[in-house]
Amino acid sequence: MEYFLIIISAVFVNNILLAQFLGICPFLGVSNRLSTATGMSGAVCFVITLATVVTYLVNRYLLVPFGLEFLQTIAFILVIASLVQIVEIVLKKISPSLYQALGIFLPLITTNCAVLGVAITVVSKEFTFGGAAHLMNLGEATVYAFATSLGYGLAMVLFAGLREHLASNDVPKMFRGLPIALITVSMMAMAFLGFSGMV
């Protein structure tokens, strides 16, 4: 039940793109076509989940015992950057087809603030699911990270679908490109606002 609440909350209520504003740059950058949006969502999903598990362990067993929490930002970004590199190399060897699908998006992910954002959130924010406020344990953190990235993918794919239609519409010159895209996102965010209060 608790995991179910985490998932609903992370996918719909606190959608990472539309409510938390994390990872907007790649969202606006690659949502022109549905196929690239799907590829990017897959890669983000993979990296966020993996990066959160690794940074959670680094924080718990390396930074906290030695009193090095002030190095959190530096340590996390280094872990994420090297993780993305490793994932790229491993994927290339093990699953060339998956690498073909995700390959070009992987290097972009290091600077996707959603990854660092989720990693910092799970080790610093207290959650109230299932009783008293507490920091997440590893299981909850993993589920939260995975659900958050699902929410990212959902918003991204929905928006790419809208944007493909937008391209064929006659938009006033000053609104062409990003302005009309942002206004469309605003409508989507308003729709997602309807989920608030569910959890």
């Binding site: 002030f70 990854v115 660092l116 942002l182 605003s186």
Partner: protein
């Protein structure tokens, strides 16, 4: 002298990080719930931008080409940590409001973008000015967005009540952020972009 001033002014209109380069969207949307929050976020980014530009332009000739991006990121992360500690010590309330978005300055594309596009190739002095210009341009954009959202959303400007009542709450929440940025960007395209 004229060149120095133009380096700073470029950051406002020609290279405006928000409306022209469209970089650093996450803090732009998330922290502009009021003009004051926008200003704090802008100044925090300015701080990191200027210091990292100076440090990176100074060490750039010594950094091997292959590892320059990781080196730049570590330099930026160091200054962000310095900023975090300073803010926690001196302005804890501002730090609490901006929350997650202070450590996320590390992955703000504006900072890495300027390091890569400008500081890595130019002198320390020019890089410092470039950092000030782009940082001020970013701050100005955030204040404008914050001001519009605060006036429409809570009926006040910089905390001063302009008209009674609460305003349209949606402008302070997520949809308003996207909507205001979209309209402001359209206006910028029409009147300021050459």
């Amino acid at each position: 002298m004229g060149k120095k001033i133009s380096l700073i002014l470029d950051g406002f209109v020609k290279n405006n990080p928000t409306f022209v380069l469209v970089l650093g969207m996450c803090p732009t949307l998330a922290t502009t719930t009021s003009a004051m929050n926008g200003l704090s976020m802008g100044l925090a980014t300015l701080f990191v931008l200027v210091l990292s530009n100076i440090a990176i332009s100074a060490i750039a000739p010594m950094v091997p080409d292959k590892v320059h991006i990781p080196v730049y990121i570590v330099v930026i992360a160091t200054f962000v940590t310095v900023l975090q500690l300073l803010m926690q010590a001196f302005v804890p309330s501002v730090y609490a409001t901006l929350g997650l978005f202070i450590p996320l300055i590390v992955v703000n594309c504006i900072v890495l973008g300027r390091a890569e596009a400008f500081a890595g190739k130019n002198s320390v002095g020019a890089s410092a000015l470039d950092g000030i210009g782009v940082g001020l341009g970013f701050t100005a954009s955030l204040v404008v967005i914050g001001l519009v959202r605060e006036i429409l959303g809570s009926g006040s400007a910089f905390g001063w009540k302009l008209f009674p009542g609460d305003g349209v709450l949606a402008f302070v929440m997520a949809p308003g952020a996207f909507l205001v940025l979209g309209y402001l960007m359209a206006l910028f395209n029409k009147y300021l972009k050459k």
